[in-house]
Symmetry: C2
Subunit: 143 residues, 2 copies
């Protein structure tokens, strides 16, 4: 069973690009100043790193909700090592640090949710892990 996903990407001058899906929901791209861009938006590689963390987060948050964990705050610090030379300037290591804030949040539940997301559900991770080692850790802030 499969589906089709389509994105249109349009050039807006210099390094500015705008992409939209079939429902006109959009995202912008730009390059860093050191590469001639204007920094009006994230670069494609920054977007990919954010997408990995966001994708995994959707599943982690869903699983924690199903396990009736009282999560009141949540963030991820995604850190990547990037090869600068030779091209392509790919990520060579990625680490995701999940920070979960809540009341009586179970460390076991958080650990299991991250594992299930990373090993089974996260689509972006399912692709990127073929190209780059991804590790993770977590911190729980009890309220």
């Amino acid at each position: 069973m499969s589906s089709i996903k389509k994105m249109i990407v349009e050039w807006k001058g210099n390094y500015r690009l705008e992409a939209h899906n079939e429902k006109s929901i959009a995202v912008k791209f730009d390059a860093p100043k050191e590469h001639g861009g204007e920094e009006t938006a994230l670069s494609p590689m920054e977007n990919v790193l954010a997408s990995l963390a966001a994708c995994s987060s959707f599943h982690v948050l869903t699983i924690l909700k199903k396990k009736r964990q009282k999560v009141t705050g949540y963030s991820v610090e995604a850190t990547a090592e990037r090869r600068e030379d030779p091209p392509p300037r790919v990520f060579t290591k990625i680490h995701l640090k999940y920070i979960v804030k809540g009341k009586d949040v179970s460390a076991q539940a958080v650990e299991n949710a991250i594992k299930l997301s990373e090993d089974k559900y996260c689509s972006v991770g399912g692709m990127l892990q073929k190209a780059v080692p991804i590790t993770s850790s977590f911190e729980i802030i009890q309220e």
Copy 2:
């Protein structure tokens, strides 16, 4: 030679997430309505597909500029086949159709620029091609 890239992703309730880099340049994520989201922003997988096309476009446009091609308009249609079952719901095929508009644009220059971008320079493609076959085509609209 390598560098470090860091993104912070924060949960904003339901499936809404916001990511930002060290310069506070941000991108938002949401889920489609059929998965419980509110569609206020693209999903992580839509973002990855857009990022691939944007990354390759940066290089294609740069190379065409170096080759003194008079490009007046440019877009990419990125189409992906996505496995719906079993998880993870990864892309199983990606096709990029580059559409270049300009005056006396050389087909050879466009073909070479795409090849160089995809084979050598595009970082997002350099990672994704380890996980999914990526094909491309192009169309030139002479003004």
